[in-house]
Amino acid sequence: MNQFLIALIGGVGTGALYAMLGTGLVVAFRGSGVINLGHGAVAGYAAYVFNELRTSGDLYLPWFDIIPEWGFLRTLRINNIPTRIHVFDFEMYIGKPPLIPTLLLSLAVSVLLGLMMHFLVFRPLRNAPILGKVIGSVGVLLYLDSVIAVNFGGQNRSSSGFWIFKPDMEPVKNFLGLGGTIPRANFSMLYAALVMGLFVFCLYRYTRFGIATRAADENEKGAALLGYSPQLIAGINWVLSSVLAGLAGIVFLHKTQPSLYATLVVGALGAALFGKLTSIPMTVLGGVIIGMMSGGGVQLANNSWWPDWLEIEGVRTFMPLLVIILVLYFQGDKLPIRGSISVGRQPHAPASNNVTIGAIFAVGFALILSNVFVSKWEAVLTTSILATLFMFSLTVIVGYLGQISLAQFSIAGFAAFMMIRFVGDGTLQRPDDYYVITGVNMPTILGFVCAIAAGTLLGLLIGLPALRIRGVQLAVVTMSSVLAIEELLTKSRSLMGEGAASIQPTPSNPSWFGQYIGGFNKETFRTDYWKYSLFLIIITALVGVAVVNLRRGNTGRRFLAIRANERAAAAAGINVKNAKMLGFGISSAIASIAGIMLAYKIPAVQAENFAIFSGLGLLAFVYLGGITTGYGAVVGGLLVAGGMMPEFLGVHFGDVERGMINAVGAVGLILNAIVTGGEGVALLQSDALGKGPLALLRRNPDDDDNSETDEDNATEGASV
């Protein structure tokens, strides 16, 4: 019992961090109505800046030099955008630079970030539909996380902390007579959270600005009456939110590696939702409760009745998800209030009628490339095609159905691991493999099908909340489930096999109809691609044609009807719940196929292959290509890091370059949300531009074409 209580109190430290981050989330939400999924990354950037200042004396601005330093560009010397300012000379100081100036400088960067978020992202998106705003905050998350990778090398850092936030302080012994020890920093964090909460609470309650914010929250005119423009209020709140995040990040530095920051937003979201996105005291309380639940939950899971196949540590990430789902489930209403119009326009989703021709061209093109290129290029080509294959799952769920699921890539990962398990036969796959995969020893095709079924089931499970929760809240739920899936399931050794938590060898001899279709040749230890490429191209083409056909048929129309207006969809006799589950099912099945195909390509998979940032990056690029069309997925696949376009441009992928590409993708994502409303490169196809010289492009070898709708409909109608 005491053990359990100590575990509960042990969670207070993390809980306090959730509370602080949650407070910042609420501030941003009250100011602008945006739930910022990038809030954790905002905290992380400030923490890294602080850490870097203290160790090297350099101040890194929140961007990097985009212009590569090679070729003629180097001789031109145009790559000198300032990114780093050397502030503290170590000659002057013995040991570390002084704390207060460092802290202030880091917070100044936070202010800058707040201004950037307001002016560059959320102000331009203020009238965008919900998807646009969610994408904007995903862009912030992806951008900052990528910039952290580029500027700071993405390594973990730990800091010894400062003042009372030091890990090496004497722990509290025998707290309340419970025995055991609790790190003193836990309590310091709690103080910090309480002080921060109290400060914001008083600010909102007693200052003119705070009252105006609360008025604006209820009714934009209310703020105007008090003499504030709503956008001014939004801007100030963004800065405040960013500074609060920075503070939270910096005081938390002592406790963990900054790479975790971006994912901490999940706990913060739980806290903020606990406070119904308005109440600061409830948010602080919610954060602490979630932290304690996590600590206590892990302790409980250590009992013998806990099912083996759920990873114990995963409970920590599951608790915020649980709170989020509970809060949303009981707050969410079944149907939106009547007459409520969604502001802004959703991206067009034109049906295409040249599917066969498009597919033939695309496949032919891909085949030619796969035969022209030598092995390195084939790796690149297949990366692009794999990305496209996965993106089709997003086309269905986000593009057609309008349900923002951020969890699809985890489903891909889950299916990949399940496939390995299904076909595993307990023998060593390759001489140098570290683990032996035990499993059911299914034949390749059966394993393929069963893994898709498993992935689809998981997708349906994740889709369940979508029956009541929609819009940005669904994005919140699915993003939280990403972490829970990874920690609870994908890393579970008893479910996925010995290597699950580290690296899992894939089957060495996948064969369909007697043909080896893996991407890795175990005899030669080399990549042996052409059959794999061919197989991948065929699968992708089939999936792509199916997805584009969906849009042409009644299923796609129903999905789009739901995306546009759930009330009216129900009045048209559509069973909205079934249709949503169908969408999640189809999307998850496609994601599973993509995951399995990825596993066929590489000799071993690990949970990191399916990390949240890779998934968000893919979302970014398909959104950039055009989320509503098959064409968009093809373009998105070409753009993706490690894919065709970056490779053509000569950017080879290491961690840093991948970060750069993702950052560029994030910027493109935000721009795309602002400029084209998410139609992406597919805008080239839309009527707005289609009449000009771009009309020529319509004959492109791609899946999409919305001209000649009538004739094609007529002929096709007759032939069916």
């Binding site: 599917v355 546009a564 009216a568 009045a571 048209a572 189809i586």
Partner: protein, 275 residues
């Protein structure tokens, strides 16, 4: 004659206020029934209640012999109880024709598989119904346009056509004529009674007294959630209660007279309720 829809004691409460108060109302099969009443009388709320969009606190609704109180909105629509919305609520991302197709076709569990290989189900009856709906609402020339490219009035007509496309047994029209220009009103008004020839009954809410008095077989008058009068158009026109509550002012008189004149322009029986 049997009633396609019958409510008894239907009550909807919004925080203490009875938006519909013990409403007893019947729509006989194959007839054209109107519901009128001043703004905020609870007309839309009545439609919301019988289509399942707001919960009822008392009373029940029977639709073709079945108590529909427990059914979900889409289940009621599938049974042929189809409504339009006072606010537009079109599917903005679908073309006019696609709006109708969505409502026209139902799905089976395997439909999506057929769709994936592009073998959509074609049903002659549904296609004909959609053609007819487009035709009758004068939307043939804009079948492939997006709703956002149309005038407000024509968008309203798309809403009506979408409901018609579903081949309803009873169509509930919530102020279809509001916001229409003269030409559009004539299209609508001139065709409303044709609906009856397509195996449906019609329930119409509108503020245009001329229209309501001229097309309806039977009219109910709602005020503050209560039915205060009912009868044939003739009876309603002459009812003192109605005059007081609703038509009392001069404007009402003029509109009522306009309705009389319009009667001559519209064929179809005006005989009122038979039973």
């Amino acid at each position: 004659m049997s009633n396609i829809l019958e409510t008894s004691g239907l009550t909807v409460t919004f925080g203490g206020l009875n938006a519909c108060d013990k409403v007893d109302l019947a729509v006989p099969e194959g007839k054209f029934v109107g519901l009128i009443g001043p703004n905020g009388a609870g007309k839309t709320t009545f439609i919301d209640a019988i289509t399942g969009y707001v919960p009822t606190s008392a009373g029940n609704a029977v639709f073709s012999g079945e108590d529909i109180g427990e059914l979900k909105p889409h289940e009621r629509a599938q049974r042929g109880l189809v409504r339009t919305f006072q606010s537009l609520e079109l599917f903005e991302d679908l073309s006019v024709k696609d709006n109708l197709l969505v409502a026209g076709y139902d799905t089976r569990w395997y439909s999506f598989l057929l769709d994936m290989i592009y073998m959509p189900r074609k049903d002659k009856d549904v296609e004909e119904q959609i053609e007819w709906a487009l035709e009758i609402m004068g939307l043939n020339d804009v079948a492939d346009a997006m709703p956002s490219d149309l005038s407000h009035g024509r968008r309203k007509l798309v809403g009506v056509a979408r409901a018609l496309a579903a081949s309803p047994k009873l169509i509930l029209l919530d102020e279809p004529a509001a916001g229409l220009d003269t030409a559009e009103s004539q299209i609508l008004g001139g065709h409303l009674r044709e609906f009856l020839d397509h195996d449906m009954s019609v329930f119409l809410i509108d503020h245009d007294m001329g229209l309501v008095l001229s097309v309806c077989d039977y009219i109910y008058v709602l005020d503050f959630g209560k039915i205060i009068a009912e009868g044939t158009p003739q009876e309603i026109r002459e009812s003192d209660t109605v005059k007081k509550a609703y038509l009392g002012e001069e404007a009402g008189e003029i509109q009522a007279q306009a309705g009389e004149r319009m009667t001559y322009n519209i064929q179809g029986d005006q005989g009122g309720q038979d039973d």
